[in-house]
C-alpha cells in the first residue's frame, strides 16, 4: 500500500530533521557540517526515491534524475580544483 510507505517515509524525514536540529546543540568542529550534509542528502534521497517514485521508474528516468547532479559534479570539481589550489 502506497499510503503506508509514504507515511513511513514522512516519519523518517521528521526523525532526520529532529536529528539535524539536535546535533546542532553539540560542538563537534568540522563534524557538524558533515552530519548536517549527510542528513540533508539522506532526506533528499528519501524524497526522490519514494515520494518522486524513482524506485519504480524506468532506468532512463533514473539516469535523467542523475543528469543534473553529474553536470553539477563537473562544475564543482573544476571550480574547486581552482579555488582549493590557490
Amino acid at each position: 500500500m502506497n499510503a503506508r510507505r509514504y507515511i513511513g517515509t514522512y516519519l523518517a524525514l521528521i526523525l532526520l530533521l529532529t536529528a539535524t536540529v539536535w546535533s546542532h546543540g553539540f560542538e563537534l568542529g568540522g563534524w557538524n557540517v558533515v552530519i548536517n550534509l549527510a542528513i540533508a542528502a539522506a532526506k533528499a534521497a528519501l524524497i526522490a526515491l519514494v515520494f518522486m517514485q524513482l524506485l519504480r521508474e524506468k532506468a532512463l528516468t533514473r539516469i535523467f534524475s542523475l543528469l543534473g547532479l553529474s553536470w553539477l559534479a563537473i562544475l564543482f570539481v573544476l571550480v574547486l580544483a581552482d579555488y582549493l589550489t590557490r
Binding site: N2, A3, Y6, I7, T9, Y10, L13, I14, L17, T20, V21, H24, E27, N32, V33, N36, L37, I39, A40, K43, A44, I47, A48, V50, F51, M52, E57, K58, L60, T61, F64, S65, L67, G68, L69, W71, L72, L75, F76, V79, L80, Y83, L84
Partner: protein, 211 residues
Amino acid sequence: MAEDSLPIQFVAPAQRNEAVTLAMWLLLATEALMFGALFLSYLIYRLLFPQTFAAASAQLDSMLAALNTGVLLTSSLTIALAIQAVALRRRALALWLLAATVALGCSFLILKGYAWYTEYQHHLVPLRGFQTDYSALGSGAQMFFNLYFVMTGMHALHLSIGIAVVLVMMAYVAWSDRTAMVTRRVGLAGLYWHFVDIIWVFLFPLFYLVV
C-alpha cells in the same frame, strides 16, 4: 466525457506517461543546475570566510527555519498522498489533500516572510535604501546575506509557482472527469513540488546551522 485521445507520437498511454515524466526530470535537472551555481558560490565564500559565515548564521532564527522545514516535508507527504487519491478516483480526498498542500505552502511563505521582516528590523537586508549594519560580523558578511536572500528568495519564488500549479491541479481534480489526464498532470506537479522541497532541505542546514 471522453478520455484523452492519444497524440500521434505515442504508441500507448504508458509510453506517454514515461515521456512526460522524463521531460519533467529534465526540467528539474536544469533547475538543479541553476540552484547548483548558487550553492557553489556559497561554498566558495564559506571556504573564504568560515568564521563570518558562522557569526552571520547565528543572526538567523534556526528554530523558525526548522519549523518551516517540517511544514514543507509535511506538504510533500500531502501531495504524494493526493496523487494516489487522484489515481484511485477519490476526488474529495484528493481535493482536501491538495488544499492542505497549498495551505502548508502558504504557511511556509508566511513564516519565511516573518523571518525576512525580523532580519529587516535587525538591519540585515542588503538592499539600497535599507539601513544595513554588518559591522559586528566581520568581512564577508555581506556576501553571506546576499546569498541568503537570493537563494531563499529564489526558493520562495519556486514555491509560489508550485502553489499556483497545485491550485490549477485542484481545478482539474474538481471539474475534469478525464482521470488519466488529471493523474498525469497532478503527478508532474508533485515532482516539481518535491524538488522545491529538496532545495529547502539543503538551504536549511547551510544557512541556519553553520558553526
